[in-house]
Symmetry: C2
Subunit: 454 residues, 2 copies
Amino acid sequence: MDIVITDLPFAVTADGVVENCRITVHNGRIESLKAESVPDGSGPESVPEGTTVIDGRRFCALSGLKNAHTHGAMTLLRGYGDDMRLQEWLEKRIWPAEAALTDEDIYWGTRLAALEMIKSGTTFANDMYFSYPEAYRAFRDAGVRGAIGLAMFDFNDADKRKAIQATVDRLLEDYVDTRGGDSGAEGGGAGGDGCAGVFPTIAPHSIYTCSPDLLRWSAERAEELGLVFHTHMSETQQEVADCLSTNGVRPWQWLERIGVLNRIAGHGIAAHGIWMDDSELKLAAEYGITLAHNPASNMKLASGVFDWQAVRDRGIPVMLAPDGVASNNNLDMFDEMKLAALLQKVHTEDPTRLTASETLAMATGAYSDVFAPWGVGGPLREGGPADIVLLDLDHPQMTPVHNLESNLVYAANGTMVDTVICAGEVLMSGRQVKDEEEILRKGRQLARSLVQRI
Amino acid sequence: MDIVITDLPFAVTADGVVENCRITVHNGRIESLKAESVPDGSGPESVPEGTTVIDGRRFCALSGLKNAHTHGAMTLLRGYGDDMRLQEWLEKRIWPAEAALTDEDIYWGTRLAALEMIKSGTTFANDMYFSYPEAYRAFRDAGVRGAIGLAMFDFNDADKRKAIQATVDRLLEDYVDTRGGDSGAEGGGAGGDGCAGVFPTIAPHSIYTCSPDLLRWSAERAEELGLVFHTHMSETQQEVADCLSTNGVRPWQWLERIGVLNRIAGHGIAAHGIWMDDSELKLAAEYGITLAHNPASNMKLASGVFDWQAVRDRGIPVMLAPDGVASNNNLDMFDEMKLAALLQKVHTEDPTRLTASETLAMATGAYSDVFAPWGVGGPLREGGPADIVLLDLDHPQMTPVHNLESNLVYAANGTMVDTVICAGEVLMSGRQVKDEEEILRKGRQLARSLVQRI
């Protein structure tokens, strides 16, 4: 689809905020992004036939937000357990519910997540959950980009390990794009063709649920196939204490010792990364592992506070994420931005920490290129993927505009997003998304049925 | 206006969440709020002529949110200074801008604030700023409830004190409702007649900008006229340190010693209340002073963390507030709720602190009746003021509903509010508010002109 967005008062780009500009989209990419003169009122000019013209006068444009760590289908558990201690929450609420999930639940739960993403301006998510094919199909049907990982556990049980390895190997055969072309009926398109890419990752859950063998096997597969290795790391103090007592070293040192870090250098992403000491930050920097920062989840579960400044000072790649909605309870990256910035300020007693501009850069993917091989871009730029969000400025919360980036981080919310373009396709226009009614209906029905089964 | 809201799947009331109910409004009050059978599809029944019928099927109802501390006209400074240290922010940004404000700026800035309130489900604000008549007129024209205080300072200068006292005395003559009826052309209606009340408070800015004489005089006027005394207290560590070094006691002890607390018992409200020790919490409890908790502002300016549990354990009245938008940067009480709950959890390392239910109670005014004499109510109840917000459940973020209160606190935002009723008048329906276009246009124009003058 060719698209022209005219008369935009503002666009947040890789080179800062550009005023009064026009964006043209061709073949899934941003062909041009240029300042233009203020509209002269002479009406729409002629554009090539078949081009979609979007009147940008009420909007600011920004890159689609990137959700660096999530569990999509947990939308069905939104609000199912809140204000509880972690262990009680897991044992009484989350695990029993997850044990009852069907493939249908995962498909529609992930569709609901993808719908929520689109309706709040997010065009990519790095997902980890319990059914690869259903999650893959849901992202594909929704039209958003997705890195899909099957959550792996073995709890140090060799039989369990072999079983999950076999499952993942079968999936990889079906889903890995061998780059010569489509590797199967559903393909694994990298997005450069204007079709949003949905692609696999290798996703061992964590060091406390996976054996060293499973972690190392995962790293080997990720290395061999050039895939992203996605795990949880350093989320709680307990995790660090347990690792120290079992292995005699801290979690990142453990990952290095068992031969994981050297195999995932530059293509690993670790969710949370809160309880890291200097030696661990140094390892993350050395191996170029991206940290996915989850402020809402870390606050709601009382996990701890991410050390933004230490991470940036060491040049560690970093992205932003809402985690699953069961510990959030939404996927709105605008909420995440405000929480991230405000929490850093109060926690460090320094209001200059994590500025609006830095926060927006983190949320649009400026500080990590771990997913770049699959077409996931950073802030808007010519030649970059046409993943574009148009946010409606005609809200009192967005009035006036002294500083657009401040308004976006501190005043906006996802419900102000009017239009979403992903890989050159318009997924939402005037807040209308295809299949919305059906997705909401199925989500309600399956969530009700799920809790009745538990 | 008589109103019937039918077929509501949920209403958050003083007695918890009621499912499948109907609300009738008569003469500015909630006449009935009752569970009703699921609609039988037979279509709308007959209602008395002139009654407005609202189809509630897509909505949940909650009480209009109460903003306990704000500086309305600062909307014109939204995003004008961010990510700065307090003193630099004040000296380089806020004070020069405020010195340039005109009465027209304050009127339209406050209209913009009131518009934002309505569009995010807030029906009452406790305002403190620099022009009483303009703020009064703005709230009145918008149709929301407002407690309006003229911010008083004297910086220990007797001439300044006498001047501001004279100004306030003149205003009080014009605006205080003497309860025998309207006290002047604009009245000061208490809201019981179906007309939203706008009413004066006595608002000395703080102990560090006001002399003891001005503070005591303010308390005397508040006592004599039965008005609310509104001030800032215990916002920063500096404020406490300065008070200790100048007066030898902490701020609340100082307020008691100079004869303020005994005169404002039960009708005082103190914004922030962060840096209070046990003796000060005891004084707040003893004198029944309401604390206005401002999580976004306290985080953004790195002021500190409010101690929710200590406040509730002592039974101190407490309300929620966004402060002015220059330190927030919006007036969305849904943002405030999520921030408040999440911050308590991570700060205390206890995820059970400040539950969704408690947060919603705080935001709807359940924990303080300091403004009750002027018709400001708490959660929805029969006989209470008809200040009703209908939030649209037809959003992915609100799907499914396992726990409505969790969804409202952790997943919703103000832009999901569809309809707002205040004192029985419909101020917003289908997100349409009267004069919106003009208010946004004036807001933009005056903000631009303001920064050009600075």
